[in-house]
Symmetry: C2
């Protein structure tokens, strides 16, 4: 059973703080292994990829690292048309939403005649890591590939392990729909190394995104600097804030949708109605019994779930900001007003008819969102993650006379005489 807290408990603050500090992930010590793998791929290239895939994925990749367009065609042909339609529907909605995120360049001349500006350009090549096995989600392929395509990335590469030579055809369909142009059947730290350093077959990229296991996460941390990386995603979480006017079964279903992801996932309910809290707890227990992934969801709810009862919805604001949830559902009568008062959340789902699951698939917004309280300082994945801004400065002789003396004064105050000279020489000072 999830923990139950009441804000009127004398030890509430201590228990809430302890709850916030709970670590949900056991950090595996894989760094030494990863270092060796990166060095091996860097030195031996394709040969290392083939050897490592034989060892870790029990698959022979000699001469077939790349997944051909014909293989993708065949995979798509094998997908039933209803699912393909749903995937296409999702792709179109994600694309339409992300088109709005494209940043505008800026250019202007200020009162002193100085021209300033900013120019956004797409990253030249991006690598998308896709996990194999059960965590191989076609929806995540879309969520990573579509923003890159919208950003205008000219080369989008995907890597995906094929343990025992098996691969979910939906993942290949999503790659095609998402605009991926090259796909390689390699995973783990070795795939990250190939994307960062390049091999005979795989040209290097400038940025690597996408979720992965502890090996992949450690490899991404290690190659950061050589290439850019996205955030390191932790287990998923939802915070549901609900008033008395909710169907407990709906809320229980939402909490369990989060909990079924992973035993380390987290589902939290905060409500000002303690009767509702009781009813949701009972509904969770009922629904768990008939859930195919009930064992996973049950462990998540037992170990990391929480039900918090407050006196008024006002009190939820500070708690929500401290939790800084990846997903925040506001199942209350006036969700807009509450949303405006909360600073920290990856995504907010407004009202009783907006289950978080809609955002996972077809809402159009991105489902790659900051976990583990990182919504305090970071955002979900978007078009900006695949672009970068170059600042522009243009000064003519006149404007340089206006700016120069202050630049020279500051350079001298910082003891940087060559800096001062670079300006002074142009002004005959």
């Amino acid at each position: 059973m999830a923990i139950r807290l009441d804000i009127t408990d004398p030890d509430f603050e201590a228990r809430f703080a302890a709850f916030l500090a709970t670590k949900r992930e056991v950090s595996e010590e894989v760094d030494d292994a990863v270092r060796a793998i990166l060095a091996d791929v860097r030195q031996r290239g394709d040969a290392a990829l083939v050897d490592l895939s034989r060892r870790f994925d029990r698959v022979e990749l000699e001469g077939r690292l790349r997944i051909t367009a014909e293989e993708v065609d065949r995979a798509i042909a094998a997908v039933d048309s209803a699912t393909l339609d749903a995937l296409t529907f999702a792709r179109d909605r994600i694309r339409a939403h992300h088109e709005r995120q494209k940043p505008a360049d800026d250019r202007y001349t200020d009162a002193l005649g100085v021209e300033l500006g900013a120019r956004w350009t797409a990253v030249e090549a991006v690598g998308l890591y896709v996990p194999g096995g059960t965590a191989s989600y076609p929806s995540s392929v879309l969520m990573n590939a579509v923003p890159a395509a919208v950003a205008g990335v000219p080369r989008i590469v995907m890597v995906v392990p094929t343990p025992d030579d098996r691969l979910n055809p939906l993942v290949l369909a999503a790659a095609r729909l998402g605009g991926v142009q090259e796909i390689y059947r390699v995973g783990g730290a070795q795939a990250v190394a190939a994307l960062a350093y390049g091999t005979q077959t795989i040209r290097p990229v400038a940025k690597i995104v996408g979720p992965g296991n502890a090996f992949v996460a450690a490899a991404k941390r290690r190659v950061f600097g050589t290439v850019g990386i996205d955030m390191i995603a932790g287990p998923s979480e939802v915070l549901v804030i609900a008033d008395a006017g909710n169907d407990p079964d709906w809320l229980a279903a939402d909490l369990l949708a989060q909990a079924e992801h992973d035993t380390a996932a987290q589902a939290i309910l905060i409500t000002d109605a303690s009767d509702l809290a009781d009813a949701v707890e009972a509904a969770v227990t009922r629904q768990l019994a008939r859930l195919p992934r009930g064992e996973t969801a049950g462990a998540s709810w037992r170990d990391f779930g929480a039900v918090i009862v407050v006196r008024s919805l006002d009190e939820t604001v500070a708690l929500a900001d401290r939790i800084a949830a990846e997903h925040l559902e506001l199942a209350v009568a006036d969700p807009e007003a509450l949303a405006l008062r909360i600073r920290n959340a990856g995504a907010v789902f407004l009202g009783r008819h907006t289950p978080e699951v809609i955002g996972d698939y077809v809402g159009g917004s991105n489902h790659v969102l900051p976990t583990a309280r990182s919504a305090r300082f970071s955002s979900g994945l978007g078009v900006l993650d695949f672009m970068k801004r170059t600042s522009i400065l243009k000064v003519g002789p006149e404007a340089l006379r206006a700016l120069g003396p202050a630049a020279i004064a500051l350079a001298r105050a910082e003891g940087l005489d060559a800096h001062a000279r670079s300006v002074a020489i142009r002004l005959n000072l």
Copy 2:
């Protein structure tokens, strides 16, 4: 002497690739020491800060960790008015430019009646690390603090070590001008730990920015996740692309302004005029002789400088994209046309009268820029680094009927039945 390459050399590609791969930093092995310092501060708080500052900075901080407003007042009174005016001028220009970076929220209803949007909010608290000693630059204080203030960060904290109890008064003046509200006289990994975990005196922040030595960089890497961090800055670099119509002395001054920063700094000239290349090399040698920081600049130019001669300016585009310079000066007749063709640069300085130094101080754009080829995938510091985006989704009963079936189909295809159920239960499916 800097290396000299000519694009017509038969071994040009190999030599250019080797030049690009040159490491300019010796990575110090400080990680074990940093881990111990972080643990000590986390456990003992202020007492650890006092002990560590006594040991590393030879300063007694018991009861005086915080720098008071009166101390800042006194420091500002001690700064000469011309320098203070220059600093204020710089602050105003940086603020005006960064105001333009503030992102707009978005909210719209699509054809299916789904409401989507994005809301930008400031990070709740930011810590700014400022190095002590000779690398303690007031201009950098402004470049970090002003974008945070423009973003609307409600709490901006600065930490700065005061070795032997000495502190540059200009740094305190810049902090006041930049909108910093709390200042603590502590540095090193211990200051990063205090900002990330909090102590009795220093409340934790959500994001840490600013340059520092190897200890600070290692500490920032380690606390990443608990808090956000900015990029890890490497040694500075400039690429000057110049045609024949330049004064070699101006270009030499620009190259040396970069080189004087640090023996690991890098200055590169690419030109289509080999006579100019010769003349610039001679001018660098001449100017070096009378430069106060000539020893530093000379070592940088000797070890990491480069002069590359090409046949035409067209050939500079691909080379510039591979170098992906932090600073790119285009001292050519038509800098606008060339700038549009180059994808990778942190900042571009257009024309013969825009020395990079203007951008260091008073241009208005930010001087915290991606180094070590990371302009391929990242941008200079700006207002967005102090904000985060929450995505918004709002679906009514009608729109849910339109979206629901596709979400259910995808959830089932991914084997996530509780996901499917969370939508289906609202549609009586």
